[in-house]
Structures are given as structure tokens and as C-alpha cells.
Symmetry: C2
Subunit: 209 residues, 2 copies
């Protein structure tokens, strides 16, 4: 297997952390998003949507979409389980992973891509250009603040985002919180549950990935 | 089990079609989004995000997020398989389901909620109000047009969106195409592969759900 990767891309980091937790050693190929290499013909042949990461299997099959890549790795390398251990745990983990994605990760991405000067005319990933929408950047910041409140409440009820065990929902949430630095988003000093959880998941070796 | 549902809600329809394909009989409880019943205290206790659908299990556990609900039903009722039959098929099905969601469904939702008069100040689902962003509606329409081109290409290569078998990615794509009527989005007359696929999936009994 080979992983098309870029160090600063948050979706790529989701997969890197997942791979590190599984103790897998997958060779990485750097796609320099800084020079827009993801839009060069060579990479568009791998992923026509021009998005990183992409996992290439030994027979040449390409998998994209970080969640699909992680679920594939969970199936072929089940230990340690990161997507839940029973049908109900898996459903709850997927539910929380998606809640984090939709209300956290997507909000930060909207805020970042619609305000950072590097993404002028690049507010959407992929080969087509779209101009930035400043109102969407503002909305994303507000939504991220709401997301932190929602997570603070959740983490007052459970040790980890997805339930009793560390898993993919924690990875998405950790990447989201760190990604939010790009929009000056931070966990509040009074958000004690989030602070406790963030310290715990950041301490894991995989967080360096 | 009980399913909190609303006939006109596209995410709820994704689950209804999935349930119909599985030939399951799950009692439905109507949440009248027309009168914003999803934001009443009674429903927010079921889903604090104020989103439909929600599946309540016999022990009272609540599952939300249509994809998580469908994957749960796939596990407890594996036949007919709708999420792929092998690890690789499942990964590819999930990859295509997410591509349809991100580039199709989300684009239509952005266009619809940011232009329809019913959603003034309600451009985002959930308890918090956000004003509409007209530029986002326009961007959504353009992205949906790109999505149709992408699907036309895909369906020239495979019979179904997710691969050789009908599955969850087809359901999300069908719901997306029908949802796009709200923004006057239509498959082009020259998009023959999409037309062929749409006729086939719409002919299934489950499409009435």
C-alpha cells in the first residue's frame, strides 16, 4: 500500500493518526498542496476530485475519502479496534464521527478556506475554482464555537467522543481542534471536559502523526 | 425500533429507501419540520442537534445521522447487502457514498437552504439560527452542475454508483437528484449514463419510500 499525503492537510492527518494507532507502516508519497500538485494531471489520474489523502492498494486500486480509507484499514487490520467493537458501538462511533465532521470539521474548513489569502478563488477543494464567501467564513467561526459547547457537554458524559473507548471520532475531533488554530479557534479555559479530553488524546504517540 | 421521520426531508428519505430495500417494517413517528417540531424540547431530548431522522432502538438508545443508521441496519439485517460484500467493496461503496454526499447532496442543500424563503435565518440545520448567504446558494447550484458531470462520467464506467451492485451510494445519489428539483436542478438530456441509471433506480419499489 502507498498513501498520498500532505503534512498540513487535516484530512490526511486523520488517516495518519489512524495508521499510527494501528501500528501500520505505510509508505507515504508527498503531494505538495502548497504548489497545488493535487491539481496536476498526474494526481488527478489518481483522484479526479483533486483531494488528499488517497490510499493505493497493492493491486493499484485507489481509495479516497479519509473515512472510507480508515474503515478499510479497520477491516483488514482489526486490532486495536478504532471504529467500535459491536454493531451498536460501531453505529454510535460513526454517528459521533459524523457529528464532529458536520458541525466541527466542516465549520473550521468553511471558515479557513473562505478567509485565508492562499485560498482566494479556491474556497472549495478540487479542480474547479470558486471565489471566497466572507459571510461563510464568519458563519464557520460561529458554528465552531457552538461545536465546542456541544463537545464540552458530550465529554461531561463520556470519556471519549465516540463512547467508552478511544476511536475514530476522537481522531476527527482532535484534528478539528488543531485545525481550528488556523482560524484562531481555541478550547475555552472554562471548558474543563474538553480540556481533559484534549490533553489525553494529544498525549498519545499517534497525535504526532 | 421506531424511526423519527419527515416525508419531505431528504436525509429521512435516505433511511426510508434503505429500510424498504431491507424489507424491514419499522414504525415511523412524524416530526413536522413544517412547524419546526424538530426544535421543540421533546424532540431535542431525542436529538439535541434538532435533525431528522433518528432511530430509537428497543432499549431506548437513539441513533442519528442517516449514514450511521443505515450502517447499523446493515449489520443487524445483512440481506440484501447494500454497503458492499467484502472489505474492498465496502470501502469503495463508502467512498462513493461520501463523494455523492460532499459534492452532490451538500451542494443541493446549500443552494436550497440559502435561497428558499422558508429558511430565512435557517440556513443551517439545528437549534441555532444563521442567516441565508445568497452567494452560497449560487455556489451550490454550480457545484451541483459539476456533480452531474462527475456522475455522468462515473456511470459510463459502472452500472451503479458504488460499483457492480446497487447500494447505499445509489440511494444517496437518487435522493440528491430528486432533492435538486427544489433548486430546479435536472439531469441533462445528453447525460445518457445518468438517465439510464436514474430510470433504473427510480423503477425500484423502494424509490417510492
Amino acid at each position: 500500500m502507498q498513501l498520498y499525503d500532505f503534512k498540513m492537510a487535516p484530512n490526511a492527518r486523520r488517516v495518519r493518526i489512524f495508521v499510527a494507532e494501528k501500528r501500520l507502516d505505510i509508505p507515504k508519497i508527498d503531494v505538495d498542496l502548497g504548489s497545488r500538485a493535487q491539481l496536476h494531471e498526474a494526481y488527478l489520474e489518481i483522484n479526479p476530485l483533486g483531494e488528499v489523502p488517497a490510499l493505493v492498494l497493492d493491486d493499484g486500486t485507489v481509495l479516497t475519502e479519509s473515512t472510507a480509507i480508515c474503515h478499510y484499514l479497520e477491516e483488514v487490520c482489526p486490532d486495536p479496534p478504532l471504529c467500535g467493537r459491536t454493531p451498536l458501538e460501531r453505529a454510535q462511533m460513526m454517528m459521533w464521527d459524523r457529528r464532529v465532521e458536520q458541525h466541527g470539521f466542516a465549520a473550521v474548513a468553511e471558515a479557513f478556506r473562505n478567509s485565508n489569502p492562499f485560498f482566494t478563488d479556491r474556497s472549495v477543494t478540487g479542480p474547479m475554482d470558486f471565489p471566497q464567501i466572507p459571510a461563510l467564513a464568519e458563519r464557520g467561526k460561529q458554528r465552531f464555537a457552538n461545536f465546542l459547547n456541544f463537545m464540552e457537554q458530550r465529554l461531561g458524559e463520556t470519556e471519549f467522543v465516540g463512547g467508552v473507548c478511544y476511536g475514530i471520532a476522537d481522531i476527527t475531533a482532535l484534528v478539528t481542534i488543531d485545525f481550528a488554530r488556523t482560524i484562531k479557534g481555541r478550547i475555552g479555559e472554562n471548558q474543563a471536559n474538553l480540556q481533559r479530553w484534549y490533553a489525553a488524546v494529544s498525549r498519545r504517540d499517534s497525535a504526532q502523526a
